[in-house]
C-alpha cells in the first residue's frame, strides 16, 4: 500500500460524519420498505437482461439512437475520447457565443473534468444540483454517487455559502437550501446553455430520460435556448418499454423512494419561451465503454444504473467515503469504472480496499457481482505488476504445509514473551496497530494433525473426510477435535488426510489465481482417497473454495483434467453445522435431556452466508443443542477480518471490528458463535482485548457435549 493511501485512510477515519449520516438513514430498512410488494429478483433480472443485451449491442444501439433522435430534430455527436467531447462542446459554445452554462447532474462530465476545461476557455459552468453545487464551491470531487456532498457538515456548507454570497449564512439546513434556490434561480435565467446528463437513452425513440428530485433538470432543459446532454454509451437501452424497470428500481435503490419527484422524457427539441425551437445536442460518449463491453468479465459492469446502493451497504465505504474508495465514481462499482475510464493505474491501490464481503452483490439492481469484478481487477494488477515479494513468499509457504508447519513451530516459541491467557495482547512497535483493538491469537502448541492421531474413534461404514484449513490446524485445533466428537456421536467415522494443505482462498483473494489453482490441485486427491460420504469443513472460507470455487479456478487455469475431481469434492462438501442440522433432522443426533439453556448471538461470516448460503442451519442446530438465540444488529455485516485484509488494511479492519463488538455486546448474550475460524480470531481477540465476558466459540465447540 502506498503511503498516500494509508494517510488518506487515516484522515478519513478521523472524520466519521458520513458514517453517522448513513447510520441515521438506516438504508437497508428504508430500501426494503420502498420495494414492498415488488419482486426484487424479478426486476433485477429484467434490468440485467436489458442492460446486458444493450452492452452486447452498443454500436448498433448508438447508431439507432442517433438516427431516431436526429429524425426528431436533435443533433447527435458520437465522441470516442474525452478530448473529442470537450472540443465539440467548446466549439459549440464559441460558435453560439455561450458564456454561461447551467448544469444538472452529469457524472460523465465529471469523469472528463469538463467544467475545468470550459473555464480555461472563459466559459462558466455552474452546477445546479444542490450537492454538486456545494462540491463545486468547495473545489472537491463527489464522495457519494447520488449524494455527492454527503461528507460535508451543515457548518461547512454554511461557510461555503457565506463565502459565495458575501453574507453570513446560518447553519439551518432549510435556510441553506433556500439560499441555494435564490442564488441559482438567477443563473438559470441568465444562462446561454443548459447541460444535463441522462439516466437512460432509448435507442428506439431517441429519448433521454432524466430523473431528479430537485427539479433542476427541468429548469436546465427549459430556460436556456440550447440544451446539451452528455451521455455515456452505457445509458443506452433498446426500447421504450426497457426504461420502465430502471425507472422503477433506481429511486428505490438510490434513495429508498418509490419514484423521484420528477422524471422527464425528452425526445427532440421543444419550443423555447420566445417561440423558437430549442437547439438540442446529444453527445454520446464512449471513453472505453466499447472496450469494456468487449471484455468478457467487465461487460457486466455496464449493467450499473448508478443507484449507489453498493456504497450504502459497504462496510468499508461508510468508514472511508468515496474520496478514498473510488474517484469520481465511488465505492465498489466506482473502483471498477475508475479502472476503465481512468486507466488501470489509479486502481492499483483502491481495489485493495474491497474486503469482498459480498453485501453489495445482494442488493445490486443491475445484478453485478461487484466483489468478483474487483477481484478480477486485482488479478490483472497482480499478473501485470506481480505481488509484493512478502505476500508472494507467504502465499507460497502456506501451500507447502510441512514448511508452514515448521515455521509456525518456530513462531510458537518466538511468541512466548507476548502471550497471556492464550492471546497476544500487545505487539512491539511496528506491529502495534494490529493489536490495538484486538488481541492476536497464538499458535497452538500441538497442531490438529497431531491431536487427531490421539483421538479414539469408533469404526463405522459411514466415513467423512475432514478438511481442517490453516486456522483449525494451527491456531485452534480444539475446534477440529470437537467436530470429530460430534460426528462420532452420529456414527460417522472421521478421516483426516494428512496431505491436505491450504484451500487457496488467500491466494485467490490476492488475485493470484494460479497459486490458488495449485492449492486446489494439491488437495483433491487426498480428500477423495478414502471412500467418504462427506467432506466436512469447519471453516466457511475453506467451504467457499471446496464447494464453489475450485472447479472454476481449475478450469480458468486450464487444468481441465482436475475439474471432475473438484466437482466431486464440491458435491460431497458440507459445512459442519449444515451436516449436524441434517443429522438432527434425520434423528441420527439427539440432544441430551435437560440441557441448561444458554444464550447466544450468531455472526454470519461473509463466506458462509453470501458465498455458500449457509445461515439458517447453524442457528437451527445450535437452538436444538440448547442455545437461545439473541440476534444482534447487522448480524451479517463483515467483522473486518477478511483474511489478509486485516494485515493490509489494519485501520479499517479495526474500525469494522469495533462496530461489530458493540453490536455483540448490546445483545447481552453469553456467547457469540460463527462458523469461521477467521471471524472467531477477530471477534475473540476483540472481546478479549476489551475485557468482555462474552466468549467467541465455534458451533462445534458449543455442541461437543450436547448430544446423546
Amino acid at each position: 500500500m502506498k503511503k498516500e493511501l494509508a494517510q488518506s485512510i487515516h484522515e478519513a477515519l478521523e472524520r466519521q460524519n458520513l458514517a453517522g449520516i448513513l447510520d441515521r438513514w438506516n438504508y437497508p430498512a428504508t430500501r426494503a420498505k420502498a420495494y414492498e410488494g415488488i419482486d426484487f429478483e424479478a426486476i433485477r433480472n429484467r434490468i440485467a437482461e436489458i442492460k446486458g443485451s444493450a452492452a452486447e449491442h452498443l454500436e448498433e444501439l448508438a447508431e439507432k439512437f442517433k438516427k431516431s433522435a436526429e429524425a426528431r430534430g436533435a443533433k447527435v455527436f458520437r465522441a470516442n475520447s474525452p478530448e473529442a467531447v470537450k472540443d465539440y462542446i467548446t466549439n459549440l459554445c464559441k460558435e453560439k457565443g455561450v458564456k454561461k452554462i447551467v448544469k444538472s447532474k452529469s457524472m460523465a462530465s465529471e469523469e472528463i473534468h469538463l467544467n475545468k476545461h470550459l473555464a480555461k476557455h472563459g466559459i462558466q459552468a455552474d452546477e445546479t444540483d444542490l450537492g454538486e453545487w456545494i462540491i463545486q464551491l468547495a473545489h472537491q470531487t463527489p464522495s457519494h454517487m447520488v449524494m455527492p456532498a454527503l461528507h460535508l457538515t451543515k457548518e461547512e456548507v454554511a461557510d461555503l455559502f457565506s463565502k459565495e454570497t458575501h453574507q453570513q449564512q446560518s447553519t439551518d439546513i432549510q435556510q441553506l437550501v433556500k439560499v441555494a434556490r435564490k442564488e441559482l434561480r438567477g443563473k438559470y435565467f441568465d444562462a446561454d446553455m443548459g447541460m444535463s446528463g441522462a439516466n437512460i437513452a432509448i435507442a428506439e425513440t431517441g429519448t433521454l430520460v432524466i430523473c431528479t428530485n430537485e427539479g433542476n433538470a427541468r429548469l436546465v432543459t427549459t430556460l436556456p435556448k440550447i440544451h446539451v446532454a452528455l451521455v455515456g454509451l452505457e445509458k443506452l437501452v433498446a426500447n421504450y418499454a426497457d426504461a420502465e424497470p430502471i425507472i422503477t428500481a433506481l429511486p428505490k435503490s438510490a434513495t429508498s423512494q418509490l419514484i423521484t419527484s420528477y422524471v422527464s422524457f425528452i425526445t427532440g427539441p421543444s419550443p423555447n419561451t420566445d417561440g423558437s425551437l430549442k437547439e438540442l445536442h446529444i453527445v454520446l460518449m464512449d471513453n472505453k465503454r466499447t472496450a469494456m463491453a468487449k471484455d468478457p468479465q467487465f461487460k457486466e459492469a455496464l449493467q450499473c444504473i448508478r443507484c449507489a446502493s453498493c456504497l450504502n451497504v459497504c462496510p468499508v465505504y461508510r468508514l472511508v467515503t468515496g474520496h478514498v474508495f473510488g474517484h469520481i465514481y465511488t465505492g465498489g462499482i466506482g473502483t471498477i469504472l475508475t479502472a476503465w475510464f481512468n486507466e488501470m493505474e489509479t486502481t492499483g491501490d483502491i481495489q485493495g480496499l474491497c474486503i469482498g464481503c459480498g453485501k453489495c452483490k445482494e442488493i445490486c439492481p443491475g445484478k453485478i457481482d461487484i466483489p468478483a469484478l474487483i477481484l478480477e481487477l486485482r488479478r490483472r494488477v497482480a499478473s501485470k505488476e506481480g505481488l509484493p515479494f512478502i505476500y508472494k513468499t507467504a502465499l507460497s509457504v502456506i501451500n507447502n504445509r510441512k514448511l508452514f508447519h515448521a515455521m509456525l513451530r518456530a513462531a510458537f516459541i518466538a511468541q512466548k514473551p507476548f502471550v497471556k491467557e492464550g492471546f497476544i495482547r500487545h505487539l512491539p512497535m511496528f506491529l502495534s496497530n494490529l493489536s490495538e483493538y484486538r488481541s492476536l491469537p497464538t499458535i497452538a502448541p500441538v497442531p490438529f494433525r497431531d491431536v487427531f492421531k490421539k483421538i479414539k474413534q469408533p469404526q463405522s461404514k459411514t466415513k467423512a473426510s475432514f478438511f481442517a484449513g490453516c486456522a483449525i490446524e494451527f491456531v485452534n485445533p480444539g475446534i477440529g477435535a470437537a467436530i470429530v466428537k460430534v460426528l462420532n456421536k452420529a456414527g460417522i467415522e472421521v478421516v483426516f488426510p494428512e496431505n491436505q494443505s491450504c484451500c487457496g482462498i488467500p491466494h485467490w483473494g490476492s488475485g493470484s489465481f494460479d497459486m490458488a489453482a495449485a492449492a486446489a490441485a494439491h488437495n483433491i486427491k487426498p480428500l477423495l482417497a478414502d471412500d467418504v460420504e462427506y467432506v466436512v469443513v469447519g471453516c466457511a472460507t475453506c467451504a467457499t473454495a471446496l464447494k464453489k470455487e475450485w472447479p472454476h479456478l481449475l478450469k480458468d487455469q486450464n487444468m481441465d483434467s482436475l475439474v471432475p475431481g473438484a466437482k466431486k469434492v464440491a458435491a460431497k462438501t458440507v459445512m459442519f453445522s449444515e451436516l449436524v442440522n441434517k443429522l438432527i433432522e434425520e434423528k441420527k443426533l439427539t440432544p441430551k435431556d435437560g440441557l441448561k439453556l444458554q444464550t447466544l448471538t450468531y455472526h454470519d461470516s461473509c463466506h458462509a452466508k453470501r458465498h455458500v448460503g449457509i445461515d439458517k442451519e447453524p442457528r437451527a442446530a445450535l437452538a436444538a443443542a440448547g442455545y437461545e438465540l439473541k440476534e444482534m444488529f447487522e448480524c451479517d455485516t463483515c467483522c473486518g477480518m477478511g483474511g489478509s485484509y486485516t494485515v493490509k488494511q489494519p485501520e479499517i479492519s479495526m474500525q469494522m471490528l469495533k462496530r461489530k463488538l458493540k453490536n455483540i455486546e448490546d445483545t447481552g448474550a453469553e456467547y457469540v458463535s460463527a462458523e469461521c475460524p477467521g471471524c472467531l480470531i477477530q471477534l475473540g481477540g476483540g472481546l478479549h482485548k476489551s475485557g468482555s465476558k462474552i466468549k467467541a466459540k465455534h458451533p462445534a465447540e458449543l455442541m461437543e457435549d450436547k448430544f446423546k
Binding site: N17, I21, R24, W25, T128, D129, L130, G131, I134, M147, P148, A149, L150, L152, T153, K154, V157, I173, Q174, L176, V177, K178, A180, R181, L184, R185, F189, I202, T205, G206, T207, N213, E214, G215, N216, R218, L219, T222, Y240, A241, A243, E244, I247, T248, T255, L258, I259, T260, S261, Y262, V263, S264, F265, I266, T267, P269, S270, P271, N272, T273
Partner: protein, 184 residues
C-alpha cells in the same frame, strides 16, 4: 383507484389531494386558494394558469378581473414571479401518486417548475394503475417532453436531511374533478 392515488400522492409529503364532483366546485376551491395565498398583482405574488382543457367554457377575462395577479399568459418573467402555477395533468398513477403530462408546450413547464405552489388539475377518471399502464398511453413518439411529477421539489443533499422546495414547488395541490365533460 382514487383512494390509492390520494394515499400515495399525499405520502410524498407537502401534497394534498382534493376531489370535486363538478368543475364549478373545483373552481370555487381554486379561487379560495388564490385568495388564501394572497395572490395579487405584485411580482412574487402572481398566479399563472397554463392553457388547460379545464378552462374551456370559463370566462378567463372575468376570472382575471376578479383575482388581480392571476395571469393566463405564461411568460418567463410572469412565471419567475409567480407564487402559484396551475396546470392540467393528463394522467395519474395510483400506485405512486404520480402525475403525468405532455409538457412539450413550454408554458406548462414554466408554470409547474418555477412557482412555489403547483396546483395540478386532474380528471379523476384518468387515474391508471402504474407506470406500465401509463407507458401504453403516453409515448415519446408523439410527445417531445413527457413530464412525471410526484410530490414537491426536494433534496437531501445536506447531511441527508430532507428539505422541500429547492428549485421547484414547495407544495403540490392536486385537484381531481369527477365530471369528465369539460376536462377533456
Amino acid at each position: 383507484m382514487f383512494d390509492k392515488f390520494k394515499a400515495a400522492a399525499e405520502a410524498a409529503g407537502n401534497t394534498e389531494v382534493q376531489r370535486f364532483g363538478a368543475k364549478a366546485e373545483a373552481l370555487i376551491f381554486i379561487e379560495g386558494l388564490l385568495k388564501k395565498e394572497e395572490i395579487k398583482d405584485t411580482p412574487g405574488f402572481y398566479a399563472v394558469w397554463a392553457d388547460s382543457p379545464f378552462l374551456k367554457g370559463i370566462d378567463t377575462k372575468e376570472l382575471a378581473a376578479k383575482v388581480p395577479g392571476l395571469k393566463f399568459e405564461v411568460t418567463r418573467e410572469l412565471a419567475k414571479n409567480a407564487k402559484i402555477g396551475i396546470t392540467q395533468m393528463e394522467w395519474g398513477l395510483a400506485n405512486m401518486g404520480t402525475l403525468a403530462q405532455d409538457s412539450t408546450a413550454v408554458e406548462q413547464r414554466l408554470a409547474s417548475a418555477l412557482s412555489w405552489i403547483h396546483v395540478a388539475l386532474l380528471s379523476t377518471d384518468k387515474i391508471v394503475a402504474d407506470l406500465p399502464a401509463l407507458m401504453t398511453r403516453m409515448h415519446p413518439g408523439t410527445s417531445n417532453y413527457i413530464a412525471l411529477i410526484t410530490g414537491p421539489s426536494k433534496t437531501a443533499d445536506i447531511e441527508r436531511v430532507l428539505a422541500i422546495g429547492v428549485h421547484g414547488p414547495e407544495q403540490l395541490v392536486i385537484v381531481c374533478v369527477d365530471e369528465s365533460g369539460g376536462m377533456n
